[in-house]
């Protein structure tokens, strides 16, 4: 492991070695290395294989902006080797090869590339249709990326909100200057950068011939930021998207941050572009900035003899850095015919590096085996897009490319901004940005450091001002002339492999052929070729595609347009999106008592309720036994989940009269009355009971899952009616227990001395206040299960104590709790419906045989007009009770259809085997003429068999109600 000495390697700690595995072999690096830098330091230049032709690929950008470095780390596919820091024990493997990374058996696919043009699979495999799944499987095997382990354990991901007066995305020179200026104005600033350290290009690039300006500027800005309390720096943090009102998503580690930025400065820099020539993807060919990163940040020599190809001044800086690192520079090839003389070129000339102006690279010559480069062929340019046939050859083992730049403008695009590209140079500009958003630095087309810093200061001042921090006007520093930059030539090679899109192995002729086929619109071109649709999202591929399209169509670059940038900008895992799972669950006061008793819990809305108690394997027996204990003795059920609403005020009776179908104005205090709610369309939406506790006070129950909707509906109507009434939602405020069965009165009597429980003093549907075991309680004599029963509502904090007292008092009598399933069985025997089980989104009171619950003596209730119209129009179905007499017949299930003559006339809504009656009973919708008791009909069950059922009169049990009214 050979490294350059300090000051090279600013990001690594040479005192700490770190070992990991790559392709099964042990590799050592230093703390601070990325996987890619450590591998290159150990002479490993091939990191993966390409998507389509399985070509060996190495470092391209060295900053996670390309797909060449995608590797598998343990169970995590598609991690960026030039982003992920090494850790001891990492198990890293390359992706997308068959055999070994060095000897990929699918590498021979390159010989068949002429038979695999863009879109070949659209055209080749679409018929016969049955064959496509086979092809798809094969193609996916050949052209895959990482491997997903479906058994990967859940990781811990979460989310966090952030707030700032001013946010700066990108901590390069422009971002740092902006942050400092905004903070000086008094704003709290969040400075975000995706790298481990702030500084951006100042950390690795060269801005002057002497190579001193970047380091000095970096140190000065970093020190000022460290000393500024108002600036919070978040490194290793990727901003993945811009949303309305400067809402930004940030990812750091396993956390997704949701940032509300007051004002925003985007200083995200730009992407250096590769040049396009034959074999421009060989390992050893990289961006100039990648070579500089390897040298400056990691102390890694990217080669021994380099050729630098450039379209601007920055290639000269890269060449000087290569020289400083002891790398021989064979020549600098400048596509500009007449490059300006400046401090960079002067420094190069002083070091006797030949500069070949007005030329471009035509071909890289691979080493045997194709895993590297051994020479490059250079040709003179003859015009903007034509090269001479004659070439010169230079031996080298690396090529540094410094094409023009594409702005890292995804955030600006998402905010509505536009980028204008100059046709005759590599320049660009941004415009149409919304308020409270500024772009600064090279993302806005500025490259000279003086101008970049000036841009940053101006953007920071403006952002602070927009965030409400008054800023004194200051004179802005004078601007210097921007450096000359050229739009590098795109000249296809007769033998192809001149890659435009490294992700998808797209070559110049692939783009040109698609254009020739008519895919001229940039969006169509993208979709047909998949150019820019790979992991690097067109950072290096979109700009050449735009230029190729413009060349073909004769349009200007601006007219050609660009593709749409959508979040996420960078890789984002499902774990980040999901975050930590917040799934609120509501427990009643007695919840843990149910668990202690062996209850099988089931969800009821957000609540958990006991389905039944006991072993799951004896489910049916347990439910039947619980039900029979209610019929024969005494049972208790937790009804705390029932909805509860306090309706209070002088107009409470009038309010209920309008909200529900029944009449409530004359309901006596101390009595409960059934409530049935319909919506404006006359559809049943909820039911319960209204207990009149005072002339101006009703305590109204509602269904567990319906109460929130009922509450909202009540508030909505009362906002219009403006009655003198207040509605308070108290569902969770009261715990409830329903104790039922012929022996329940004796149990309650043991605990109550202030309510006369005799049937004369406290009849069915009576309501009383008193105490149970010293706990204040509301007593309701209601009978959902059809037996003598008391529903006791007590303050929630005392619900467990109530339960304990009742269980203890009933122990001698053999009290046992019953669950939701036993309750459903018992109520079915009584023919009581459950809203939303026996009704649906269309059920009317008459269909459900609930006309008895409609008052015809009052002028109005919600849904009255609709119900009247439905009644006049006649029924199309009716809910009836039925029984299945054949004890050997298979039992239908809920939602099985009632069929007559091949037509559907209804469906089963509830069905069970009644232990009390010894037969299968249920509720079903049937045709009106099937509703007459005694009528037989057929139910189609699973598998298509028909089961005969017979309509019977409801209820099935205790028709005169004697048991519940005893």
């Amino acid at each position: 492991m050979e490294r350059l000495g300090a000051p090279f390697g600013s990001d690594i700690d040479r005192s700490e070695s770190v070992s990991f595995r790559f392709e099964g072999a042990q590799v050592s690096g230093y703390r601070g290395d990325t996987i890619a830098s450590a591998l290159l330091a150990n002479g490993v230049t091939t990191l993966s294989r390409s998507f389509k032709y399985h070509r060996p690929r190495g470092v391209l950008s060295m900053c996670g902006q390309d797909s060449n470095t995608l590797v598998q780390i343990g169970q995590q596919p598609n991690r960026l080797a030039d982003r992920v820091a090494i850790e001891a024990g990492l198990d890293v493997t390359a992706q997308n090869y068959w055999g070994s990374l060095e000897n990929d058996r699918l590498a021979h696919l390159r010989h068949f590339s002429r038979f695999m043009p863009v879109g070949f699979y659209y055209k080749a495999f679409y018929k016969p249709r049955w064959a496509w799944p086979l092809w798809a499987k094969l193609i996916r095997r050949i052209a895959g990326l990482g491997t997903v382990d479906l058994n990967t354990p859940h990781g811990y991901y979460d989310k966090q909100y952030l707030f700032s007066d001013v946010t700066v995305i990108g901590a390069g020179p422009a971002g740092m200057a902006a942050a400092l200026r905004a903070a000086q104005a008094g704003a709290k600033v969040l400075l975000v950068d995706e790298n481990a350290e702030i500084g951006g290009a100042l950390a690795y690039a060269r801005f002057d011939g002497a190579g001193e300006l970047a380091e000095a500027t970096h140190a000065e800005l970093a020190a000022k930021i460290a000393a500024e309390d108002r600036i919070r720096v978040m490194t290793d943090t990727m901003c993945t998207g811009w949303y309305a009102d400067n809402w930004l998503s940030l990812v750091k580690g396993n956390r997704l941050y949701k940032l509300r930025a007051g004002a925003l400065v985007v200083a995200t820099g730009c992407y250096e572009q590769p040049l396009i020539f034959h074999n421009n993807d060989l390992p050893g060919i990289m961006l100039g900035s990648a070579a500089q990163r390897l040298i400056r940040l990691y102390g890694v020599k990217p080669g021994n003899r380099a050729v630098v190809a450039t379209a601007n001044r920055d290639g000269y800086g890269a060449a000087l850095d290569l020289l400083d690192a002891g790398i021989e520079v064979a020549c600098v090839v400048d596509v500009r015919a007449d490059p300006p003389e400046d401090d960079m070129s002067a420094a190069l000339m002083r070091r006797h590096v030949p500069i070949v102006a007005g030329a471009t690279l035509r071909e890289a010559v691979p080493t045997s085996g194709g895993g590297g480069v051994r020479a490059v062929k250079i040709a003179r340019l003859e015009g903007a897009e034509k090269a001479a046939r004659r070439y010169d050859s230079f031996a080298c083992d690396m090529i540094a490319m410094a094409g023009c730049y594409a702005p890292a403008a995804a955030l600006l695009h998402q905010a509505g901004g536009r980028v204008s590209l100059a046709d005759d140079s590599g320049a660009f500009s941004v415009h149409d940005l919304p308020a409270q958003l500024a772009a600064a630095g090279s993302v806005a087309g500025t490259n000279m450091l003086e101008n970049v810093l000036g841009d940053g200061v101006a953007a920071g001042r403006r952002a602070a001002d927009e965030a409400g921090f008054s800023v004194a006007a200051t004179s802005e520093p004078p601007r210097v002339a921007e450096a000359d930059a050229s739009a590098w030539p795109i000249i296809g090679h007769s033998r192809g492999k001149d890659f435009v899109d490294f992700d998808e192995d797209l070559q110049v002729h692939d783009i040109e052929n698609a254009l020739a086929e008519g895919y001229r619109h940039i969006q169509l071109l993208k979709r047909f070729t998949t150019n820019g649709m790979g992991p690097s999202q067109g950072r290096h591929a979109t700009l050449p595609a735009i230029r190729l399209a413009a060349r073909r169509t004769g349009a200007r670059l601006d007219e050609t347009g660009s593709t749409t940038s959508r979040p996420p900008i960078g890789p984002l895992t499902m774990g980040h999106l999901a975050g930590r799972s917040f799934e609120p669950v509501r427990y009643t006061a007695m919840h843990f008592r149910h668990l202690e008793r062996g209850a099988r819990m089931m969800p009821a809305g957000a609540w958990m309720r006991p389905e039944y108690y006991g072993e799951a394997r004896a489910r049916e027996e347990n439910i039947a036994a619980e039900a029979m204990n209610v019929r024969d003795n005494v049972g208790i059920i937790d009804v705390s989940t029932l909805g509860g609403l306090e309706v209070r005020g002088p107009d409470a009776g009038e309010f209920l009269n309008r909200m529900y179908t029944f009449a409530y104005l004359k309901q006596p205090v101390g009595r409960a009355r059934y409530v049935l709610m319909t919506d404006a369309a006359g559809v049943i939406v909820d039911d319960g009971v209204a207990c009149r506790l005072h002339d101006d006070h009703f305590y109204v129950t509602a269904t567990t899952s319906g109460v929130d909707g009922v509450y909202r509906t009540m508030l909505w109507y009362n906002a219009q009616w403006r009655l003198k009434v207040d509605v308070t939602h108290v569902s969770a405020s009261y715990a409830g227990a329903n104790i039922a069965g012929p022996n329940c009165r004796e149990v309650v009597q043991k605990l109550c001395d202030d309510v006369d429980l005799s049937p004369e003093a406290f009849p069915y549907m009576g309501v009383r206040r008193g105490h149970v075991a010293g706990i204040p309680a509301l007593f309701l004599r209601v009978g959902f299960v059809g037996e003598l029963g008391y529903e006791l509502h007590v303050p929630a904090s005392q619900g467990e104590a109530l339960w304990d007292a009742l269980m203890e008092a009933g122990a001698d009598a053999g009290i046992r709790p019953f669950g939701v399933e036993a309750q459903r069985l018992l109520r079915l025997e009584k023919g009581h419906i459950i809203i939303s089980q026996d009704t649906d989104g269309l059920t009317t009171p008459h269909e459900a045989d609930m006309a008895w619950a409609i008052s015809r003596k009052k002028p109005y209730y919600v849904g009255m007009r609709s119900v009247s119209i439905q009644e006049a129009g006649g029924l199309t179905r009716k809910l009836v009770g039925f029984e299945i007499s054949d004890s050997d017949a298979p039992r239908p299930k809920e939602c099985h259809l009632v069929i007559r003559g091949g037509a559907i006339t209804g469906r089963v809504t509830s069905i069970t085997r009644s232990p009390t009656l010894g037969k299968v009973i249920g509720l079903a919708y049937v045709a009106p003429d099937q509703a007459e008791p005694g009528t037989e009909f057929e139910i189609k069950i699973d598998g298509g068999a028909m089961v005969r059922a017979k309509t019977v009169k409801l209820p099935f049990y205790d028709a005169d109600g004697a048991r519940q009214e005893m």
């Binding site: 952030l162 609120p584 427990y587 705390s640 308070t728 904090s797």
Partner: protein, 233 residues
């Protein structure tokens, strides 16, 4: 021997969580309140200054709402902000959070006192309601205190409202959503240690308690007893 929560009929919905965390209980307002989690009071006070979670379910609280709420409460001697989402401290230590023009929440102090609460609850009846109606806040909402310098960072993980001290002043009220639950958050501190009251659905107490402890873990947050909270105030 410590008092056992189940020895009282009023029980915090969290008492099993508190027991399993090692709480030592004492009687407060007829219920068992978790006063501490061990013998080291100084360490627990330090925990409360860093990040502590305290169950206040035993403390007095009530609510009133209706079109005549303000006048009725003022007749009981209450002082109240005209603006919503502001807490007005009362002379007796009770705090009144105005949740809406027609709704108020009354909270006792951390020593379990709330004379105005007792007075208002006793005075109220349906006969005398007159457009102001009692809300059983002690049964509707469980009540937690979160204290310590890390609380704003903790809230940032579970709540979308900006609760940084510079943005959310003492006596501010936020009626918002915490870990997907409706909640009332009140900035309660008057000193150097940030402190917030959190009231939410009583039936979801166990869920939120566990969610908070999970979110607190990265800051070293732990349950603290009422004694540590009293020490802060």
């Amino acid at each position: 021997m410590t008092l056992a929560p189940k020895d009282r009929t009023r029980r915090s919905f969290l008492y099993r969580e508190l027991e399993s965390a090692g709480a030592v209980f004492d009687e407060l307002n007829g219920a068992a309140a978790a006063m501490s989690y061990g013998a080291d009071a100084e360490a627990e006070a330090a925990q409360a200054r860093s990040l502590g979670l305290c169950d206040l379910s035993a403390l007095p609280r009530t609510g009133f709402k209706g079109w005549n709420m303000s006048a009725w409460l003022k007749a009981q001697g209450a002082e109240m902000s005209e603006a919503s989402n502001i807490v007005t401290p009362q002379a007796d230590g009770t705090r009144i959070a105005r949740l809406a023009p027609g709704e108020a929440l009354l909270l006792g102090n951390y020593r379990g006192h709330g004379p105005l609460i007792e007075k208002a609850d006793s005075a109220w009846s349906m006969q005398e309601a007159d457009g102001c109606f009692q809300v059983p806040r002690a049964e509707t909402n469980f009540w937690l205190a979160l204290s310590g310098s890390h609380v704003p960072a903790l809230f940032a993980k579970i709540c979308a409202v900006d609760l940084r001290p510079e943005s959310f002043a003492t006596h501010s009220v936020a009626q918002t959503n915490v870990a997907r639950l409706n909640a009332i958050i009140i900035r309660a501190d008057t000193g150097e240690v940030p402190q917030f009251d959190l009231l939410s659905d009583i039936a979801s107490a166990v869920y939120l308690w566990r969610a908070l402890l999970d979110a607190m873990a990265e800051f070293g947050g732990k349950p603290v007893g009422l004694a540590a909270l009293q020490e802060l105030n």
